[in-house]
Symmetry: C2
Subunit: 254 residues, 2 copies
């Protein structure tokens, strides 16, 4: 049995609670957060409080708050003997007090309110100062996920950065496509099989090999027609920059 205190009530905290609470080998002792509305969700489920001074003894304290607040919350754990971990992709391990047993438990996934997550497929990136704590954290992570990795602070920063490209920026590309569809009375549904295929392709090919389109084949005529069709200056600028970047990737002259 691993006992846990969850500190924080945002998306990550909530998804972790939902998953942990289903496992017999994990006991969530309490959830603590400043947000009273968010805390209300846990009232009849576990001990829930907005008072960070009420932290009880647990094997692991999970600080699942915004990066800016990690250090502040960790001050309430000064005299704790359990393992203190944060869940941030970009904060380093040493954001936590050096005199404590500390670690990182970074679930690499995009969490949305109200959308359930199957943690089994969520990569969980771990880091600890000492090996014994790594084993404890690995035990916890393996209970909920089949994809557990050890990733140090430098690598994790890079990973968080790549997630912005792989998720946030690709989603923004979908958004621009959606916007243009709406303005042209086209259903965005027509594009969905193409989007699915784009992702299926990179299961077997690298994105480098998968690339197609006018920029890939230096089809200047089509690129110019597309830029002329775009109405927003911002979209033109994105089209130009990404087309140039694709052409540079394949070593074509501009």
């Amino acid at each position: 049995m691993i006992s846990i205190s969850i500190l924080g009530t945002g998306n990550v905290a909530k998804h972790l609670w939902d998953t942990f609470s289903k496992h017999k080998e994990i006991k969530v002792n309490q959830v603590i957060g400043r947000n009273l509305d968010a805390i209300a969700y846990y009232r009849n489920k576990t001990k829930a409080s907005s008072d960070f001074k009420s932290i009880t003894d647990s094997d692991i304290y999970i600080i699942a708050v915004s990066d800016d607040a990690i250090s502040t919350v960790s001050q309430f754990l000064k005299d704790k003997k359990g393992l203190v971990i944060h869940t941030s992709g970009s904060a380093p391990l040493n954001e936590l007090p050096s005199n404590l047993r500390t670690g990182v438990f970074y679930p690499l996934q995009t969490f949305t309110k109200g959308q359930p997550i199957d943690f089994k497929e969520v990569p969980i990136c771990l880091e600890t100062k000492v090996e014994a704590d790594g084993q404890l954290l690995h035990k916890l992570a393996s209970l909920i996920s089949n994809r557990v990795y050890f990733v140090d602070s430098e690598q994790r920063k890079k990973l968080h950065l790549t997630a912005v490209f792989a998720n946030n920026f690709s989603n923004h590309m979908f958004h621009i496509a959606h916007e243009i569809c709406e303005k042209s009375n086209l259903s965005f549904d027509i594009l969905k099989p193409l989007i699915s295929k784009t992702v299926k392709k990179i299961e077997t090919l690298s994105p480098y090999e998968s690339q197609t389109g006018p920029a890939r084949r230096t089809d200047k005529g089509t690129m110019q027609k597309h830029i002329d069709l775009l109405k927003e200056e911002n979209h033109k600028e994105i089209y130009r920059l990404l087309s140039r970047s694709i052409q540079e990737t394949y070593g074509k002259e501009l």
Copy 2:
């Protein structure tokens, strides 16, 4: 039975041949293309030739060549009575000779050599000058796909443009993520569940609703850290432009 001449030997032509040849109600009379290596593939399968003067009578002539060559190839069909169609997303219907029965058959998918396609899920966008030809084309398209749409030339141009954002540019985002992973000794596989989830989310939410990340929440600290982490000027520029575009989308001050 619908009889067909395929004119062209590129990816689209080949994928159409592979699909058509499996259907009893479709008969491919011939495949014609200039590329002798490509034509060799069809030698023992159907009548294959590199001589455009050898075009026989068919119900439908499918011009599946690059946009620049559509007009040239259509000159060989001057005296034909069948329906002459092209498969381009960006060329208008009137790229084909006005004295012929003409149409467009645009499969909205990304075709890669050697990767088989399940046409049932490929949206096929049709356009014809007259309704009777529309019915013929709809019959052909429905034999191979469950997603058949009528889309006029103006809309199709927009659709082709949105496909560049939805497929080509999102794939380039995956490529940049892949590049950074490689340079940091991280397996790109760690990112694959995140990428899958990005696409699954937009089955039920709009991309507007799905957006997460530092730009979405105007987390300037993280954005600056990411820009500092990026080594290539080109990647910095893309990060800045797309983050600005996301912030503008959500009406935040810059």
